[in-house]
Structure formats: C-alpha cells, structure tokens
C-alpha cells in the first residue's frame, strides 16, 4: 500500500502542507483525517520520479501556494446543464454560496455539507469518508487524495435513498486569483436508489478534490463533469467508487482547456453483475496538459467495465493516459474494455499512454487499445468533395473521433449539452 520509504523531501513537503489541517472535527471525522495524515506521511507528496508521475509534473499541484490564475471570463451561452434543471449547489473559490444555491431539499436525497456535519460525534459518512480513498491507494498511490482527506474542510455529503427526481449540480466558480480549493464529497447510494451528479468548474486557481461514492446493490450513479473552458486553474480531481451487486456507475468528463488537469479514478466492482463505465473527452489547444490515471478493479465475478478516453490536442498540447484493468482471481467472467485515443491536430502535440492489464482470473474477456493519429486526409477530402468547407469538415471529423466517449452519456439532454460544447470548442479552435 503506502510507500513506507517516502523520500525525506517528499515527506517534508507533505508535513508542511499538512500544517494547514483544520482544527477540531467530531470523532467520526478525526479518525479518518488522522489516518489520511499517516498515509500521506508514509507516501510523501508526489514527485517526478514516482512511477505514475513520470508524464505529468506535479509541482504546481504540490507547491505550498496555488499558482495564480485569473478567474475565467464569464462563459457564453447557457449555464452548464441548465436544460436538465438540476438542484444547484454553488461553491465559489471552494466556499459554499447559499444565496446562489437552490434550497438543499430534494425528495430521496439527504443533502448536507461536510462543514456542518464535521463537529458531530456520529455521522453516516463515517464508513465512507476516506475509506474508498484508502483502498484506492493501491496499486497506484494517490497522495493528493490523502492530502485532501486530511485537509478538506467542506464538501457535499449526499445520502440517496430513492430515485432522485432531479440531478444535483455541483457548480464551482472562481473569483480570486489565488484560491486553493479542497473539497471532499461523499455519496452513498442506497440499494436500488439512483442519482445523477453534475459538476462544473474548476472553480479555483487550484483544485484538489475527492469524490467518494458507494453505489449500493442495484443502485445507479451517473456523473457528468465539465472542466473548463478558457480557464487557468490547475486541477487534481479524484473519483473513488465502490459499485455493489448489479449496480451501475457511469461517469463522463469533458475537459476543455486548462494548463494542468489530473483526473484520477479508482473504481472497485465489488458485487456480482456490477457495471462501471468511465469516459472522458479532453480538448486542448496550446498550454494544456491533461492526464487520466485510472484503475478499474474487478473484485466480484460477472462485472463489466469500460474505459473510453479521447483527447484532441493541438499547438503543443499534451495528453496522458495511465489506465489499468485489475482483475482479482475470484472475478471470473469479467468483461473489461479500455480504449485511449488521441487525435493530434499538429506535430507539436503529444500523447503518452500507459495501458495496463493485471489479470489473476482465468475466465475473463479483457481488451485494451491505444492509438494516436491525425485527421484522416481521405475522409477530409471526401467531405470537402461534397462541398463541406475545410474547417467544418475537420470539425465533423473531430466530433466523430469523440463520439464513442460522448455516447457513454446515457441521458440525451446531458449528451446534447456536451455535444454543443464540443462543437463550439472545435469551431473556436479551428484553423
């Protein structure tokens, strides 16, 4: 698990970041924070020499102060996901903004904030907070997640006991140039319950987030996340999830722009017949570094997992994919699929992929692939020969490239919202 031999400098850096730990906290939280602190000290903060940080420089994510970033210009068009009419919970620079938020009342969903629940002695989130994060430290260490568990003072605690009639939207906004945001969210989907969580952001000059989700047997969790656009924020976002028997998790992220985004995911399929689909579309032009680091762990038999990650890169943008399908010995009849692809719109851009399979069961179906390519010149000519102008033809082909990822969004309204954003990004960055 945690590396006992953290380099002295990495440990020292961790100690100094931990000095900012929030005081107090009820018994349920103190224990989890203390354990996270120990985990982090054993690992140290990440450095370039760590196996899973070779392609992504963590310096801006580990530095004492968040590198300054101007808040994004007001976005054009509709607010993200408005058509889905979600219940909106707004955080500005990581601080809850009740005036901008909807009343936190939704049938079937108990909505609380970590900051409110923290002083209590007992809380339902006790078994969840920091627990999946701790299990998710192997085989890929995630020190920034442990840092978050130790330090985060706020976030959402959602307990879903029925089928939520509206999605919950976590709306993040940035106001200050140096905001260093750290939110920790816990979601428990009880057996048979269902929730859609929509996230938009990033909402800080630097964001180090953790979302822990436990999807009970037969439950469903949909997650659609929008990172961007035209922002200067650095992001390390973590999804940790446990998926129970016959339960489903479907997560999609659109990342548009941003100098540094590290999206980590650890999902365990813990009950028979579970399903986990993780998808991402990343769009970068110029100063853009985007990293997906994913572990899909099949613990129970007969589960299905899909990882579909696509990146469109131009003008020196960089993409990284590190993805693992980890199948334990008892997880027979596993169906695992992983594809990571980059479309490079010029020769200055690059994509680094590290797909991994680690399989201990013998009766499984697992496939993975990774490709890097340019726009197909023959397809481009064919479209143009029918009268489609070059820029429009390129846009169609870029959207076609991303389609497999976007198709993972089950809800047509949300998929349409994402498609429109993709299309607009491609149009803004064509030529």
């Amino acid at each position: 698990m945690a590396r006992p031999d953290a380099r002295p400098d990495a440990r020292h850096a961790a100690e100094s970041r931990l000095a900012a730990a929030p005081a107090g906290g009820g018994a349920w939280l103190r224990a989890a924070r203390e354990a996270a602190r120990e985990r982090l000290l054993a690992m140290g903060l990440p450095g370039r020499r760590d196996e899973y940080w070779r392609y992504t420089d963590p310096a801006d994510l580990t530095s004492a102060e968040a590198p300054a970033a101007a808040p994004p210009r007001a976005a054009d068009g509709a607010e993200p996901f408005a058509a889905a009419e979600p219940l909106r919970l707004v955080f500005v620079d990581g601080l809850f903004d009740p005036a901008a938020s909807d009343p936190p009342e939704l049938a079937g969903v108990q909505i609380e904030r970590l900051a409110e629940a923290a002083p209590r002695d007992l809380h339902w989130a006790r078994d969840l907070f920091g627990a999946i994060e701790a299990r998710g430290q192997t085989p890929v260490p995630r020190p920034l997640a442990a840092l978050n568990t130790a330090l985060a003072a706020d976030g959402l605690l959602l307990r879903v006991s029925g089928r939520a009639e509206r999605p919950v939207a976590l709306v993040r906004r940035q106001a200050a140039e140096g905001s260093d945001v750290m939110l920790h969210h816990c979601i428990r989907i009880e057996p048979g319950a269902e929730l859609t969580l929509l996230e938009s952001g990033p909402g800080g000059a630097r964001t180090t987030d953790v979302l822990e989700v436990d999807v009970g047997d037969g439950g469903r969790f949909h997650h659609v996340r929008l990172q961007g656009r035209d922002h200067g924020g650095r992001v390390a976002a973590h999804l940790f999830a446990r998926v129970g028997a016959a339960a489903q998790l479907r997560a999609f992220t659109l990342t548009a722009d941003g100098p540094l985004t590290r999206n980590e995911a650890y999902v365990e399929l813990a009950g028979a017949g579970g399903l986990a689909h993780l998808a991402g579309a990343a769009l970068g032009d110029g100063a853009f570094h985007h990293d997906d680091t994913v572990v899909l762990r099949h613990i129970a038999p007969g589960c299905e997992s899909r990882q579909v990650f696509k990146k469109v890169l131009k003008n020196g943008a960089a993409g990284v994919f590190q993805g693992k399908i980890h199948v334990l010995a008892q997880a027979q009849k596993t169906d695992g699929y992983q594809i990571a692809q980059a479309l490079l719109l010029d020769e200055a851009s690059q994509f680094l992929a590290k797909p991994e399979l680690e399989i201990y069961a013998d009766d499984v179906k697992c496939s993975h692939g990774s490709t890097v390519g340019a726009i197909d010149p023959v397809a481009l000519y064919y479209l143009r020969s029918r009268g489609v102008p070059r820029a429009r033809a390129e846009a169609l082909l870029v959207q076609a490239f991303l389609a497999e990822a976007v198709d993972e969004i089950a809800d047509p309204t949300l998929a349409e919202d994402i498609r429109a954003r993709l299309e607009a990004w491609v149009a803004r960055h064509s030529g």
């Binding site: 397809a379 143009r384 020969s385 029918r386 009268g387 102008p389 169609l396 082909l397 076609a400």
Partner: protein, 251 residues
C-alpha cells in the same frame, strides 16, 4: 460545360507522369463514357478534377462553365457543380449519413448564396430520393458508408448525387461490384437526373451499364491519354474485342 485541355498530371511524390495530355469537352445534356484498361489514368483524371491532394498539374487546364476548376478548393468545385461518385467510397465512422448529406447540401447552397434547406424539407427530400434507390431509413441513420456492402456504398453515392443535383457528374466505375438489380437502380438514378443542363462522364469497363445509360460519346483512355473517341458503337467494340485491338491500332 466541362473543358479539359492538354492536361498533364504527375504524382506529387516522385513525379511519375500519369496524365499525358488529356483533352475532353462535355456539353450540357451529354453523356460521355470513358473506358480503358486498368491503370490508364481514369481515376486520376476524376481525382484531379475534384481536387484531391497528391497530384501536380504540370500543363493544361480544366474549366467548368468557364471557371478555372484547378484553382479552386475541393469544396468550391462542389459548390460550382462538380460531383464525383467515387470508385471507392470512403467510410467515415462517427459521422451520420444524414448529418453529412445535410451539411454538404447546405454548405453548397450557402456558397452559392441560396437559402439553407430546413430540417423538415431536407428529410422529405432525402426520403423520396432514398426510396427510389432502395436505401432504407436504417442505412440513412448509420455513419457514412460504415458497414455498407459494396453495392450499398455505390447506391449511397448516387443518393448524394441526387440530393446535391450537380451540373457535372463524374461516375468512376459505379457499376463495378453491382449485381444486375443494383445496376438498374443506379442507372435509373442517373437517368432521372439527365437533362439539358447537366453533363455526365461515366467511367466504366462494361457495356452493361451503357445499355441502361446510353452515352452520346465514348472515349478510350490508355497510358494517360484519350486515344480514341467515337459513338456508342465504340463501347460495343470493346465489349466484343477487348482493348487490345484498339490499342494496337493507335500504337
């Protein structure tokens, strides 16, 4: 309408000459057939006219209604009224056939300063044309040419031609790989478009297609040149004797 004068083309890579002085004039209302052995440059001619990369024009000219085709981008040639039904239609995963067709039609209309066609009108238009070509709704929903049989791809080319209503249609071996019924559908599709203002260049090896689409003029191409031009009887001569006799005569 189409005027090709002394067209010389070589490959961009390596400079191999492929077309060595092609002359061809097609008037509105005419159907020209081009026949000739494999490798004689028929597809190259159609690609150069439609603006594919990889070829260099070293001499000569090609104009459509007086406009210099060779100076235009491929999409401008399409908007000017040129259409090539590909010998090998291209598969485009992820782009729906309907989206593709509607984008193409409206882009051409926009380039010509015409109003765009509404979604509802477009649907009506395509359904009618597709029905005549026995193209079902399922095929229209699929990505462009993906998973289509050879015959379906060729019919899809003719559907595009029917929707785009170009001035000059070039069909490059649209009949190869078609069974008799599909060939009849394709020929009917072409014949439905024949009118005084529209010209056709039909590249084929077979009289079969020309039984359905009666050409006015038949050309034989060999080694990058048109070596013989005649009436429909020239195609019959090829049908019974092959190219050998004709080529020996001109050599």
């Amino acid at each position: 309408m189409l005027e090709i004068r002394n067209l010389h083309v070589e490959l961009e890579d390596g400079g191999t000459p492929i077309l060595k002085g092609v002359n061809l004039a097609v008037k509105g209302g005419e159907v020209h057939a081009i026949m000739g052995p494999n490798g004689s440059g028929k597809s190259t001619l159609s690609y150069v006219l439609s603006g594919r990369d990889g070829y260099v024009v070293t001499q000569g000219s090609a104009t459509l209604d007086g406009a210099d085709l060779l100076a235009m981008a491929p999409e401008e040639r399409a908007a000017a009224g040129l259409f090539l039904a590909f010998q090998y239609p291209v598969e485009i995963p992820g782009v729906g056939n309907m989206t593709f067709l509607r984008t193409a039609l409206n882009a051409q209309r926009k380039a010509r300063g015409e109003a765009e066609v509404s979604a509802a009108d477009f649907l009506k238009l395509v359904r009618a044309k597709a029905k005549a070509l026995a193209i079902d709704a399922e095929m229209l929903r699929r990505p462009v040419n993906v998973g289509f049989s050879g015959g379906e791809k060729k019919r899809n080319e003719i559907l595009q031609m029917a929707v785009l209503e170009p001035k000059l249609c070039i069909l490059d071996e649209t009949d190869s790989g078609l069974d008799v019924d599909a060939m009849k559908l394709v020929a009917d599709g072409v014949n439905a478009l024949r009118d005084a203002g529209r010209g056709f260049v039909v590249i084929t090896h077979y009289q079969r297609l020309l039984d359905h689409i009666r050409p006015d003029i038949v050309h034989i191409m060999a080694d990058g040149r048109i070596v013989r031009t005649g009436g429909p009887e020239l195609a019959l001569e090829v049908e019974s004797n092959g190219y050998a006799g004709i080529l020996a005569e001109v050599a």
